[in-house]
Symmetry: C2
Subunit: 317 residues, 2 copies
């Protein structure tokens, strides 16, 4: 398959490398001339504009930050291939695609990445084993296009999870976006030589993603502001409850129930894969049912879809 | 040197292993018979009571959780060796030692540990490169005793940092105790199969220490409740400011200043070691000055103390 990757930062660069390693013909573009040179020096075909890069391709994967997407979509006016993206919010991108009259669009979001950024950090193995959300909507998703991307990404070793844009945005607000804000609040606790010297493992891990470029985190959280605000309000409420525990006559005893519940949830995570399954005659409805149960697509056969679900469904019954 | 280690969990068990590997004679004790058997099976001398274990030793290292310390200190009544501990709060332990009329006491706290616990997880290399706080007080610290422990722990590869109990408790509230509460709040965001499936790197690291046993985290935070409450109130205030940013007309732009500051602090951490130094004729005052600057002791010579400080002191003008 012939695929254009627009934007060659950590995610786009890794996608370019991974797709090429999987035998696809890839063409790259990045707005930054130095990044283009870096990718060319690594042996990739990189063109000087987005329209030139997507010309004649089957798929255009847009790996630019959310604030840059409107410009890229405008540049691609008239493109009749399949368009997807990798940004961390999906409802706003879906609206942008409609606004720019993109003919064939399926939103995507690989749950991969590190606090590093840029093509120099790109890694063809970044997506191996990662969850790659591919949006399906009860109305408006072309199943053939969805399957094209699912085949592409399962080929890279990703777990392709089908879910609606709205459900995605709600879930990532709590388990991906809010963690970035907590990390930033924690990093703010440095600021004295003693604190810096005493900070150890719990600080290191809890604040890791605070090292992400501020514009990326701001675009991610700000682009999903309503959902992130609601989840952050809940976290603040939980922390205020812990504050009351700390101020109670027996703080050690008061803290235990909340810490026990958190510990049980955390130790049960990540969910283990269960037994393989097969979807025949799949429809958007069956795909959505799979994703809502935390299941994912592992491969696309000729007439069926290979799937996997978590080992035990603690939430059924 | 002959050393008793009371409590053979992750920290105590690791200390037993590390001291034995460094050539010391070690005797262990744990209140749990199964743990005693485990340590004996690993080849260590383990006795059936705390008084029996400390009898005739130079140093007794108490590696039990804070709530158990009063009982252990009562068991050790009359012991005339040097007593130290490894718990994560230092002012309450100092008060306990005074209350129990411990003759020679220097409080300690290795900034090491994982979310694992128990002797089975003990590792003789756990303290290599870690910061080990050894308390010094302007009044009441016996310098010879302090140096005995500093020699012992630098021998294990630890960075021995001198600071008062009060300053320690304030610093660890912000960079060690509060992170455990943030991790617990984050772990509470699991609870649906979709959230569990989509949680990735930022969740994994941000919530890691939520897997710690609830009683340990509760004892740590509850034992330092006043300091932790004050630091948690500040974090809640920082998160409320981010909430206002999210609710502003341009959340992406509004979030950037706080995220930039956090990113700068986080990327500058950990501080790099600078050039070695030497303290001659050391006094409590010079040791405290070293610790407050984020410096640490690397070794104890015959007449001097080998030290290290962070590369650049960003906080001195």
């Amino acid at each position: 398959m012939r695929i254009a990757v627009i934007g060659l930062g950590l995610i786009g660069g890794s996608l370019l490398r991974a797709l090429a390693a999987d035998g696809h013909e890839v063409i790259g573009y990045d707005a930054d001339p130095a990044t283009r040179e870096l990718a060319r020096a690594a042996g990739y075909r990189v063109l000087g504009s987005a329209p030139a890069a997507v010309d004649g391709t089957d798929v255009a994967a847009l790996a630019v930050p959310l604030p840059v997407l409107p410009k890229v979509l405008a540049d691609l006016a008239g493109y009749d291939g399949l368009v997807t993206d990798v940004t961390s919010v999906k409802s706003p991108v879906r609206a942008l695609a409609e606004e720019h009259l993109v003919r064939r669009f399926v939103g995507g979001h690989p749950m991969a990445g590190t606090e590093a950024s840029g093509f120099a950090a790109a890694d063809s193995e970044l997506f191996t084993g990662c969850v790659w959300v591919l949006c399906v909507e009860p109305h408006g998703t072309d199943l053939a296009d969805w399957l094209t991307l699912a085949r592409l990404y399962t080929g890279l070793g990703a777990r392709v999870l089908p879910i609606t844009a709205a459900e995605h945005d709600n879930a990532v607000a709590s388990i991906s976006h809010v963690p970035h804000l907590l990390a930033a609040a924690l990093a703010g606790k440095l600021g004295s030589p003693l604190n810096e010297a005493l900070a150890a493992g719990s600080f290191r891990d809890g604040s890791r993603v605070a090292g992400t470029r501020a514009e990326l985190t701001a675009a991610m959280c700000g682009g999903n502001a309503t959902e992130v605000a609601r989840e952050l309000r809940q976290v603040i409420g939980d922390l205020e409850a812990m504050l009351r525990d700390l101020e109670s006559p027996d703080p050690v005893r008061a803290l235990i129930p909340a810490l026990e519940r958190a510990g049980e949830l955390r130790r049960a995570w990540p969910p283990k894969p269960g037994v393989p399954g097969v979807l025949t005659g799949p429809a958007v409805r069956t795909l959505l049912e799979l994703g809502r149960a935390g299941g994912w697509v592992t491969g696309i056969g000729t007439d069926d879809i290979l799937t996997m679900r978590p080992e035990s469904d603690r939430y059924s019954s």
